[in-house]
């Protein structure tokens, strides 16, 4: 990987902030965009903008084609069997809510059990929490072990014939842990439970194979994988989609409407009411093509090297505590940490003054914060355009932060 060449593809990476070159280490929150994505979006508006699936004129044909080409790009990227199974949403959150308000709403009853992990982002917890409240269902939580991996024994003993749904973060947005989804799916399926995989953090960083994984639902967000904000994807097995009621309704999702009756559109459009974010889909396609040109295996291998370097060098900061697996083979490029005596919010400000962007706070994973006995953590998260030098700058700035607050606990 020619990192210097890659960095030139991202205009924002040459920005100066606070009189220093930007060091962007908040990629788990959102990623920066290559020129190819920016140009794909402006190309639409300069050359062929029209509403999709409506007009009979050339522009509308081109825009519709581009929108549907993006669906095919997503299908290929996650190895789905058919574009019927690829529904565009606003983001991963909307994709997960779609499942909660359609399939789960129709199939979960009082006394049924929903299993999710302690590592879930709020967007793969709150929809199930609310569903459970509505239905009188029970939520069970798979705990994590001391090493930041899921307690698979606990998961195994939690599963029962009452289990109807299992929700799993493929990659934790705090610990970075890559969870054994394939194994969890096959265990859940022996009990007849459906499995929802939250791929918001995994899809940007590793090869995804939804058929190999055999999950029933998979959610991702475009903005975390070089694409624009406002476009996400729900993959669902067509056997599920066929039986599901629509989520939103209105235009686009219908075939025929009379005053007496409404006939829904075919898959996947039945789940895409209203003018979709075709601009976002077109940007996402450019993002996917960029990632495919690099190769997801290459991306993953490079990020693993970065993570290894970061784990090793961050440990040299006095009084630092790193959360999540210490084995770089078990995790993606996400490192959450705290430094004794320096609150993560103060770390964030001190790093910002050096041009380094990281995240501080609860990371939309408050149950996990509570489990770790803290209210906040700092988090550095990498993408393939980051370098070891940037990580060295991070480590230097962390040492400075520790110094500013003295060595008092």
């Amino acid at each position: 990987m020619d990192i210097e060449k890659i960095r030139k593809d991202f205009p924002i990476l040459s920005r100066i902030v606070r009189d220093r070159p930007l060091v962007y280490l908040d990629n788990a929150a959102t990623t920066q965009k290559p020129s190819a994505v920016i140009e794909a979006i402006s190309g639409l508006y300069r050359n062929y903008n029209a509403n999709v699936h409506r007009g009979v004129y050339l522009l509308a044909e081109e825009a519709t084609q581009a929108y549907e080409d993006s669906r095919e790009a997503v299908r290929r990227f996650i190895n789905a069997g058919s574009t019927e199974e690829v529904v565009f949403t606003r983001n991963a959150t909307e994709a997960l809510n779609l499942v909660a308000y359609t399939w789960a709403d129709a199939n979960i009853r009082a006394g049924d059990e929903i299993i999710v992990t302690i590592m879930e982002h709020h967007s793969n917890y709150v929809p199930w929490f609310r569903l459970a409240r509505r239905k009188g269902a029970v939520i069970k939580i798979v705990p994590s072990r001391k090493d930041g991996e899921l307690d698979m024994d606990a998961f195994g003993s939690m599963l029962s014939d009452r289990t109807k749904l299992v929700g799993i973060a493929h990659m934790s947005n705090v610990f970075g842990t890559i969870n054994p989804v394939r194994e969890m799916v096959s265990l859940a399926h022996t009990r007849g439970a459906a499995v929802v995989v939250d791929g918001a953090q995994s899809a940007p960083h590793m090869k995804i194979d939804v058929r190999g994984m055999d999950c029933d639902f998979f959610a991702l967000s475009g903005h975390k994988m070089l694409g624009p904000a406002g476009i996400g994807v729900l993959y669902a097995k067509s056997s599920y989609l066929k039986s599901m009621e629509p989520f939103m309704s209105g235009g686009e999702m219908i075939l025929r409407v009379t005053l007496e009756d409404v006939v829904y559109n075919d898959l996947p459009w039945k789940f895409e009411a209203g003018t979709p974010n075709y601009e976002g889909a077109i940007g996402l396609k450019a993002a996917i093509e960029y990632l495919e040109a690099l190769g997801m295996d290459t991306v993953e291998a490079y990020e693993r090297e970065l993570t290894e370097h970061a784990l090793r060098s961050m440990k040299t900061v006095p009084d630092i505590f790193l959360y999540g697996p210490s084995d770089p083979a078990k995790k993606g490029g996400i490192i959450a940490f705290n430094i004794k005596g320096v609150h993560s919010h103060d770390i964030g400000t001190i790093l910002d003054s050096e041009g380094i962007a990281i995240r501080a706070g609860h990371h939309c994973a408050q149950p996990l914060m509570i489990d770790c006995g803290v209210s906040a953590m700092a988090r550095a998260s990498f993408y393939f355009y980051n370098t070891e030098q940037e990580i060295d700058m991070l480590v230097k700035a962390l040492k400075k932060a520790k110094e500013m607050f003295g060595h008092v606990a």
Partner: protein, 140 residues
Amino acid sequence: MSLEELFKEIIIEHYQHPKNHGHIEHPDARSEGSNPLCGDEIQMELLFEGDRIKDVMFTGNGCSISQSAASLMTEAIKGRTVAEARRLMEEYKNMLQGNDYDAGMLGDLEALSDVKKFPARVKCASLSMAVLDQALQQKK
């Protein structure tokens, strides 16, 4: 914008060794608040004597700005009348919003004046004011 403006010695001192930290046995008012995004938390307890704030204590956890502000705020209002405390909070708010303010009235709290140059941190400095405001409303 320099870090030394934000993290003044007195702020770090109050963060590491907060004043009025703990509980009052039988408080007349008690309130709490948090900044959900950063996880800062403050609880305050007040004891009144007539119109005066006879005692005030706080507990909490969070960043240096939120916790030192609570420490400095409790120092500033202890022994004052409720009306004085309200005027002080008004001046403090003016300071954080970048308006003119009465420095004499604020005393050590003025150490937080440069927080306004760090917009992301203003809500950390404001938290204890909001919590105090709630507690004062409980005064009969």
